[in-house]
């Protein structure tokens, strides 16, 4: 609280000084190659987004317009639109977010009901779903202004038009729990509270389900936090879709430049985070990423990055898995703990990975 106040005053007095405050990747966040070394499960799955496990242990992955079984890649459900977030209820019914078209409830592979608007506003940009202890379902909408695929624009426009709504299990009614969030991208039910990762504000909040002011769990993260998944030890896994760079923070402060960039340049070539590393020559190249003697250094400022963070029950970071600049397993959108492994969906690489969980963390 006082920290925030001081940083606000500091920013007002010395604009730009906050750039220095980009957190270091150190301690539990110390970079490693564990995501690069993670084994891909099966062939590539371009468009893969979220991963969940049914009660019987079947792992489902959302890929484009389908929900697949990860094991044999057979279709579990064909959906009417691009499927994003998934969640599984205790009764084995699956909730799936459809890009631009709200949330579906799927029972035994059959769509039974759908939620398309809440409080008079259509639900178009669902980023994450979570089933609460009482069986209700929490839905986060990243932005009311931009569609899902335009998340980078939403960041560059400094939007904070996201919300979290809670719907009944049969999706018949819903109400808003929190609003004016800057791209809420992950949800996790924690008893009476709901953890919400607020991507553009680099933090994870704990929102009481009964209503009231949220409490920060994590703040000033080095990246943009996205989906959360539970760990059997009471902790959680948080995937970050990209990391912050000083250049990006700088561009976020440069209004005229940013607006002209948004208006005139192809989104693929913006100074913006990306899920996928292409190394294309039209993308902005940062000084540290210049090829020297034939290689890009792993510590180059990354345009895309792979980062999964493990949290303990108190929400402290205890471990992290990385794929740095020069790696390919970037843009991690979802995680799922399965025994000794954690399954991570690298949307950037279009691969589902299986990384080893280090015990004793």
């Amino acid at each position: 609280m006082l920290d925030t106040l001081f940083s606000r005053i500091k920013e007002a007095l010395f604009p730009g000084s906050e750039a220095v405050a980009l957190p270091m990747m150190d301690g539990a966040l110390k970079p490693n190659r564990r995501l690069d070394d993670a084994a891909p499960i099966g062939a590539e799955l371009p468009g893969c987004d979220d991963v969940v496990a049914l009660v019987d242990g079947t792992v489902l992955v959302s890929v484009d317009q389908r929900i697949l079984r990860l094991g044999d890649r057979s279709t579990w459900c064909e959906c009417p639109g691009t499927v994003g977030a998934l969640a599984v209820a205790a009764d084995d019914s699956v909730y799936a977010a459809i890009a631009g078209a709200g949330v579906l409830r799927i029972v035994q592979g059959i769509v039974t009901s759908r939620l398309e608007q809440v409080d008079g506003r259509p639900l178009r940009c669902v980023t994450a779903l979570a089933v609460l202890a009482d069986g209700r379902i929490a839905v986060s909408e990243g932005s009311s202004a931009n569609p899902l695929d335009d998340w980078a624009r939403d960041l560059l426009e400094h939007r904070a038009s996201g919300r979290v709504v809670v719907a009944t299990a049969d999706l018949s009614s819903a109400s808003t729990l929190a609003s004016d969030l800057a791209w809420p991208a992950g949800l996790l039910a924690r008893g009476n509270a709901l953890w919400i990762s607020e991507a553009w504000r680099h933090r994870v909040l704990s929102q009481p389900i009964a209503g009231g002011a949220p409490i920060p769990v994590l703040h000033n993260l080095p990246g943009y936090p996205a989906r959360l998944s539970a760990d059997p030890d009471g902790g959680a896994w948080l995937s970050l879709i990209a990391v912050r760079t000083q250049m990006l923070e700088f561009v976020l402060r440069e209004r005229a430049y940013r607006e002209e960039m948004l208006a005139t340049i192809d989104p693929r070539y913006w100074i913006a985070p990306s899920l996928r590393a292409t190394g294309h020559y039209l993308e902005p190249l940062q000084g540290g990423a210049i090829k020297k003697l034939g290689i890009v250094k792993p510590w180059a400022p990354p345009r895309s990055y792979g980062l999964v963070v493990r949290l303990n029950a108190a929400g402290e970071i205890v471990d992290s898995l990385h794929s740095r600049a020069g790696g390919v397993h970037h843009g991690i959108t979802a995680t799922l703990r399965r025994g000794a492994h954690v399954i991570a969906v690298s949307k950037g690489a279009g691969r589902v990975l299986q990384a080893i969980v280090e015990v004793g963390r």
Binding site: I271, G279, H280, Q286, G287, A289, I290, L293, V296
Partner: protein, 716 residues
Amino acid sequence: MSVAATMVEGGWLRRLRWRISLRLFLSELLAKRWMEPAIPFALMVGLIVLFSITTPYYATLGNAQQLGREFAEAGFVAVAMALTVISGGIDLSVGSVFALANLAALVFFNIWNWPVGLVIAATLCIGAAVGAVNGFLIGYLRTRPFLTTLVTLIVLRASVDLLGQHFSVPLAMASRVSWTWDVIGVGWIAKLPSNLAILGIVAIVGHFLLSRSRPGWHLTAIGSSRKAARHAGIRVERVLFLTYVLSGMLAAAGGLFYAARLNSSGSDTGVGWEISALTAVVLGGVSLAGGRGTVARALIGAVIVFVLVNGLVRMGFPGALSSTALGAVLLIAVGIDVKWAKNRGKAIQKIYVNPTMVELPPAPSIAADSGTAFAENTRLQASEEIGLDQVQGPEDVILDRQDRLYCGVREGWILRFSGPNFEHREVFARIGGRPLGMAFDRDENLIVCVGGMGLYGVTPAGKVYKCTDQTQRSLFKLNDDSRLRLADDCDIAPDGTVWFSEATIRYEMHSWFLDGIEGRANGRLIAWDPATNKTRTVIKDAVFPNGVCVAHDGRSVLFCSSWLCRIYRHWIEGPKAGQTEVFADNLPGYPDNLNRASDGGYWLAMVGIRSPTFDLLMRHPGVRTRMIKQIPPDEWVYPGINNGCIVKFDESGRALESMWDPGGTKHATVTSMREHKGWLYIGGLENNRIGRVRLPDADPDWNGYDAYWGSARGRS
């Protein structure tokens, strides 16, 4: 000839706003050595103006002359103090030497009736003798200057008191009159008080001695670091000894003038002068830590102290109060000066880079399916590697008539690869600096542009010689631009003149990208004539001139302007001689080296591709200024130089074809290429290899040397 005038388009007002930069002027001004004492100088001028306004008749010639005469003696003592302080020591005995010299001169003149010449010599010798004692102790016995000269101060002061008592009666009765003596004391030299005129001469000589002579540099070096000076071979003991001798002599000279002027041997003569001299020296900006200071600064400080004390006395302040004021001024000035000296470099650094607006029209399409000559392909990826991991940054490559391959690398060497598959690597020459563009002259000497050094040559036997490292200095430029800072690429005209580009005069090789951030016309096209050994700047405001190539007919020189994505043709012969025109404009990337092709065209290495975000940055100079201030260089946005691209042009400047390595898998940052016997050899500023690709349609016998100097010569 200005090629910069056409560099920006758009609103002229906005263009003007970014063209003219006061900050640029200020940054270069502050970087000058003579700006270091700016604050003391301003204080001096301020004080004189203040007293001129507040004190009646202050600003009159008569008063100025009177003050000058009184000041001169203090000036000598201040210079004496300054020398020892610059040498890293201190001479506290200057005040008592001054008093001793005063007394001695009076005794020699009045009582012993020596001739004036002998009086002068003897007095100076006394000062030198005291200085020699100090110098011997400090220089050879390495005693601490502070304590040593403090002891000298006390001993001399006591001696002066004793002697003064002894001679006071005879001195009071003396009445010798001498014309010479009066000239020294109250005479005039060219309308200046004689002592002030001599102080002026001493100051000028002292300034040159200190800043332009070997003993002066030695003195400063010792002051900066005695140990390092010793390691550099400076005879520290002797230099220190002589410094104190000189200091003693200067203080004695002050005493001599004092004696001649006042003819009085008061017991308080010179009391406390070491403190005011020290105050003056420090106020003037001579560092107490040693190694930094000039005679002029010491004198500026002396003027401040003198004017302040004198002015306060005239305004009716009691003596104690004016001393307090002096102390306060000293404190403030020292405080400011310390901050200034410490932060001047930082201040310059903060305002040195001054981006301007560079507006490029939309780039021609490079898409693989665009059908343009620039269309992306993968032809460079088929290259064969030469010297993989045996070279670090072959910026330029060239082949000789024996098919040996040369390249300049990061270490400052020229490497040579020979043998059928170029597997034999040897260091051909160690020049130093950063070897960049190369060319062979008629006698098969390798002419090399060396970043940080200038234009050098290497004989076929591997002997390095200097061609030129300076050109004429431009008038009205604060920065001394006579030295070549970043010679980039060269080529040789049929008459033997070496045409070469100097990419920028404001940055070094390691900070070349800052010139890109700036986007100003900081570069030059220079010609060196080996026959006369004359270097002349032909075009002095080119925007990062990079590759240089003499046209096939030898009548014009092509040169690239990297940040403008443009190639110029400068005519050196024929009706248009001296004119510059655009050869190729609005390239999709940043042109680097340019070389002849066998079919009468030219190869261009495109070091990077224009990325949309970087183009936009170039239109926003303010954003670039903030970018380099707020975030570290590794985070700055660069154009797409992780890419390889080579383009061929015909004689009219039309692009014919391009060869690509998209993403730079093998050849990122391609800075050069050279056609030789049906192959194209590729160099890169940051690469770990040289590559070559087969040119199926090229003349298999064509090579660079013959194309320039004819095949008949040398083969017979």
